[in-house]
Symmetry: none
């Protein structure tokens, strides 16, 4: 890579920032049909950009939902690797608007941050890639590797169309590996390789007793209380030391190696208590809170309801009680098997006198993990360090990104999560923003990375 | 008693039913401040009725809460006994509305039952007394005994104001005995003397974890889940054999004698499964369902809520979870001691990482029991048998009527529970109703009874 490409970014900084501002000003809210035209506009913006800098076959692909932007660059030749670059141009709704200090769709720079909906998630990060491609093309006339671009418009609403398209047009989107910039660093300017994400699965438990709410005086003592039955069931699924007591739950869990525990230990201590207001953390027996959150499976009750929920008392035995449960899974665990184990456990412990129904969530995902020593990952770490001037750390996270699991499932290729967001970006919240200098360092990182992995 | 009074009820049947319908149409829901005007309307209805038929000093007495209706009849002279007639004009909320086959506040006759919220509990039964007073006054010009009327508007929310008033105006409400019709028979047309009632007490448990709902991927594994913590607590309070496992809960329980177990055995088998739709009954280890319901204490969870309750999933660790618990108590048990035992137990089993708060219900009541051979009880049995043509049976019940315990505590006079409800009335539930012919036979019973105990 010549210095020229890097200098191009510096020389065109103002113009590129203005162009990004135009992109962010399009309110491409995917969940609201009132923004249908804006969705098209945002997709058009990317298509035009890619055409302008020399990508081939740049197009909006129609889907059952919002269009998907596709383009290719094959100029690196048949011997160069091909990367699938994934991102999304849709954004979360901006409301409540009154909590924004500036218009979410009139990007504004304050305190060295660019404030706008989508500045971090994910339009800002998508734009960085486009600008880097531009810099290469305008200075060297080519990119160091072949690229397939896939920018969808439904990430914030479940990526349903993308799932369809990937399965239908498997070959079109195939590549040697994928790069996604839709995540963050553990701290501003702390290069972070996200090498693992948890999978997830969920069930809903409905306990039904009497066919109507009963007077607790007339029937208490003869009829099983569905809430108590549900409490017995839930309580039997995890002990007070946070160990899931469902038979087989840990069977296929890939154990945390001592190397990984060391990696996790090195992650700058997120103070779970400060951010949440609890007086102490808890975690699975034998593991630290960081280890449990990042590398061990979890089972959480997300919601529960049954009987009287108003003020004061209502002396009833309620007819039903419902609980919603989701599990975050680690490599090795199969979501469908976990659902079955949960169901078996529940049926086994369900008390007499009530009917217990388990509904399985349709969408689940396996966990994702890439080998931290994989050359494509090592090179990413090097690029990060070069741009940010700091050692790169490796983290696994408890969250889930469905597209990552789908790509792995379909293509079984390495997926590199090159995120540049910071913990203060307020994704999905009012006053979303992105640090101005992270744009600069992020683009620098991408330049170094393409140079390293390309020809 | 002349036949005239009895005939008056027959001759005016249509008109009285229409009048009852007007009374039931007032949605006098005491727990919901939106119904404040309806509460006043229902109280006014009774005051007007009593004035119209010649009661003295009929008035709405203002209280800290809903008004109390008071009136007296002194026309039977100083040698006649005075009865305190207690009832309540407030009703339970009607929700969930979608489970009603007709509007809860548009009374409708179907299958020889009158469907409306309050038709059985307790507006319907209050109305029977008013109509009987009317019949006496319109035909004989007087009642066989002196009467003090006390109809409150807070029975369904704990009778707090009544408690205040009774203690403040002790003399005004004093009488030789009391009659209450706010209970039922063990089967339709089976005259039933209720000689024992359970007491009750209640608590609310609030478990608080993080100060806002958390992302289950980012924090799951580090933060105690309040719903799981609550499940552990609830599950520890009663085992699967329906034995309350709170230390000391059974300490002061007056044991069921073999005589009482025989009386209970004789109560015509209420088929708990038919009336409730469950496939089998359950009961405390060592006791039948009837014994447990009628003569042993119970602990029921009346409601629970926390976290996400909408469709689908929301992968959060919720900030709080709440459960409402009430206990039905038997003779010997002290409500305040039971509350303390529950609190001690909860504090002992509460897991770390969450805050657990126990709120004690202010109003509780001890259990009530009267001698089945008391003359005022025997006369009630005779009146029942005359009207219903069937031997009267004696039962203890699992319900609680706080006012019964307070009256006994303040006045120490006999309290006669003359109830006419049936097991199919669905008190506190959708589709509450009352058999039309039970109105007729109930009013006949009251006529015979006043005649027997009066001058």
């Amino acid at each position: 890579m010549s210095e020229q490409a890097l200098n191009y970014l510096k020389d065109n900084r103002e113009r590129l920032l203005a162009k990004l501002t135009d992109f962010l000003a399009i309110p491409s809210v995917s969940t609201d049909s009132a923004h249908k035209d804006d969705i098209e506009k945002a997709a058009d913006f990317i298509v035009t950009y890619l055409k302008d800098i020399g990508f081939e076959n740049a197009e909006k692909q129609a889907t059952a939902g919002h269009p998907l932007v596709y383009a290719e660059y094959n100029g690196a030749g048949p011997n160069a690797p091909t990367v699938l670059f994934y991102g999304h141009y849709d954004v979360q709704p901006a409301d409540p608007l009154e909590l924004w200090d500036s218009d979410p769709f009139k990007p504004e720079v304050r305190n060295e941050r660019l404030y706008a909906r989508g500045s971090s998630d994910d339009k800002g990060q998508v734009f960085m890639h486009l600008a880097v491609f531009e810099a290469y093309m305008k200075t060297e006339g080519k990119l160091p590797l072949n690229v397939k671009v896939c920018i969808e418009g439904e990430e914030e609403i479940g990526s349903e169309s993308l799932y369809e398209v990937l399965h239908k047009k498997k070959e079109q989107f195939n590549a040697d590996f994928a790069v996604i910039s839709d995540s963050g660093m553990v701290a501003k300017n702390q290069p972070t390789i996200l090498y693992g994400l948890k999978g997830f699965t969920g069930i809903e438990i409905t306990v039904t007793g009497p066919d109507h709410d009963l007077h607790s005086g007339m029937y208490g003592g003869a009829i099983r209380n569905p809430i108590m039955a549900l409490s017995h069931i839930l309580s039997s699924m995890k002990d007070k030391e946070e160990v899931v007591t469902v038979k087989g739950f840990y069977d296929d869990v890939e154990p945390l190696t001592s190397e990984e525990r060391e990696l996790i230990e090195k992650v700058p201590g997120e103070d779970y208590t400060n951010a949440t207001g609890v007086d102490q953390t808890i975690s699975e027996k034998g593991y630290t809170a960081k280890e449990h959150t990042m590398g061990r499976p979890t089972l959480e009750i997300n919601g529960i309801y049954g009987g009287y929920q108003g003020e004061g008392t209502k002396t009833i035995i309620p007819s039903t009680a419902v609980a919603k449960i989701t599990c975050r899974l680690v490599p090795g665990q199969d979501p469908v098997r976990i659902q079955n184990l949960l169901e078996d456990h529940i049926n086994k412990v369900a008390p007499t006198g009530v009917t217990v129904e388990v509904t399985k969530e349709k969408l689940s995902a396996k966990a994702y993990k890439v080998e931290p020593n994989h050359p494509l990952i090592k090179k990413a770490a090097t690029a990060y360090t070069k741009a940010f001037g700091k050692e790169t750390i490796y983290v696994r996270m408890g969250g889930s990104i469905p597209v990552v699991e789908w790509l792995e499932d379909i293509y079984n290729f390495p997926i590199v999560l090159l995120g540049f967001g910071t913990p203060d970006d307020r994704l999905h919240s009012p006053n979303e923003s992105f640090p101005i200098d992270s744009f600069d360092k992020g683009m620098e990182t991408l330049m170094y990375y393409w140079n390293e992995v390309g020809y």
